[in-house]
Amino acid sequence: MTTEYTTRMGDGQRILMTREQILADLKEGMADAADLGEIPDLSEDELDKLVDIIAMPARMVGVEPGKEVPVTHDIGTIRIDGDQGNSGVGIPSSRLVGVMMHERAFGADTMELGHIDYSYKPVKPVISNEQQTMEVCQQNTIIPLLYGAMPNLGLYYTPDGPFQNPGDLMKAFKIDEARASIEGAAKHATRDITWIMKKMMSSGTDGINFDTVGAAGDGDMYASLHAIEALRKEFPHIYIEAGMAGELTLGLHGDLQYDGKVLAGMWPHQQAPVVAKAGANIFGPVVNTNTSRSAAWNLGRAVTFVKAAVKASSIPCHVNMGMGVGGIPMFETPTIDAVSRASKAMVEVAGVDGI
């Protein structure tokens, strides 16, 4: 009888697969990434290594000694006291306690302070509170502590902001107006992020995390790149991390460029060089999980994309690993078997510098 191994579907469902089935799905996922991104396949050795990782008998796996990488957390400060609605565990505590728990109990290598809304725009009215919290957190920790949030261009469109929603304009065939709206929103976002970070830097922040760059399409990425550029100019030694929202930069505008390159349609290996050019220190590639495919299919695909990004990047790549990205199932609390396998694969096969 053929041995079957416990693994997952992309939605977290537990399934059994043989080594042959795992390999077949890995190859299919890899081929999808190679085709879409026009990037190289993984080698036979790398595929064999991925099969070995998925088929490991232990529920939880880890990297080989000497291959450890830095691990940072994004919204972690509110992950402790936030409820399930924002991926938290609902334990009453402060953001300071959240930072200290990650530093002293969970072994985080760097950490981030984030606002409950977790977008830059809503930070403006409470900037003094954020500065004060940052100062207190800095006084109680030694790990590099960044300030982070989402550029979230969506908040600049109606009903939340001053610009008409490009989605609505597009549906009315007002394409030029939609593009103008995106460009206006991008300028506001760049201005806001730069202003907020100037304030936060005066309170001892070690750096900035741009979380989910491109979530609202190419305008979102355009705004972020210009904010990175402005911050690098203002603060030559600031630590800047830019993590993407998805594997493909969606072209809601379609024609926006940075450094002469059209942003729409960029895959991770094309995003990395423009992020570096803007002045970031760290690039966070993202590959989305397909919930209807196996973890093997998703992992083969994610590792292929991320390996190409690592190769193309002149700055370290800290891959985004969590619910629904990086080959990890889309599940509110992703299972440790899937998380640890996907993380090991990213370090040992894709060659990422951190997570």
């Binding site: 493909l248 969606l250 024609d255």
Partner: protein, 214 residues
């Protein structure tokens, strides 16, 4: 020029997203005596299908799809005079589309609406964070054939199931097809809650809507 070459010219004009190019290609095809239905089906629609494929592969984007759809619409309007009255303006079906209550994600749902609209459906996009009763009200108001329910969070996914239950309670379930989508949704989830289909992306939403309604 052979018919096949003319069809390719029509399709290429649509892919170029340029209204002038489509209008010129349609006039040329007309002058060659090609039937309007053939010009649309084998030329313009074939071009739109290719646009859909390029969209799916991340080579073309929403504005390009809209421009291509606008150009195709212009080409079809030139042919209207040569066509039976209702053939030119008939919509493929009426679809109410929205993101369920508690979920503010807008972009994916809007892309689906636009793609459905570009494909020839009458789409009523009722926005994001939509109270579930509003779906039922809009379905009744527009006499919709299908409802699209989007959810991007595991916590809002049950809203899709609730709308299906409400459709049953109102005696509308047999009349209205239900499509579900969004990152946490799956084919299994669609089957479990009794939806008619699950669409993984905007292109698939168009394909599935056509399968169910056309």
């Amino acid at each position: 020029m052979s018919k096949e070459e003319t069809f390719k010219e029509l399709a290429d004009a649509v892919i170029s997203c340029k209204k002038e190019a489509v209008d010129a290609a349609v006039e040329k095809a007309r002058s060659e005596g090609i039937e309007p239905a053939e010009i649309i089906e084998k030329g313009l629609a074939a071009g739109m299908n290719e646009v859909g494929i390029l969209f799916e592969r991340g080579k073309l984007f929403l504005p390009h799809v809209m421009l291509a759809a606008g150009a195709m619409e212009s080409g079809v309007s030139i042919l209207e005079a040569d066509m039976p009255t209702d053939a030119a303006s008939k919509k493929l079906g009426v679809i109410v589309n929205g993101t369920v209550e508690g979920d503010v994600h807008d972009i994916g749902k809007s892309i689906v609406s636009t793609m459905l609209q570009s494909a020839g459906f009458e789409v009523h996009d009722i926005g994001r964070d939509v109270p579930l009763q509003d779906f039922i009200d809009k379905i009744k108001e527009t006499n919709a054939d299908m409802v699209g329910l989007s959810a991007l969070m595991t916590t809002t996914l049950p809203g899709q199931k609730e709308v299906i239950e409400m459709l049953k309670e109102q005696g509308l379930r047999d009349k209205v097809k239900v499509m579900v989508g969004g990152a946490p949704a799956t084919e299994n989830w669609a089957n479990k809650i009794g939806a008619d289909c699950y669409a993984e992306n905007a292109s698939e939403a168009v394909t599935k809507a056509k399968e169910l309604l056309v």
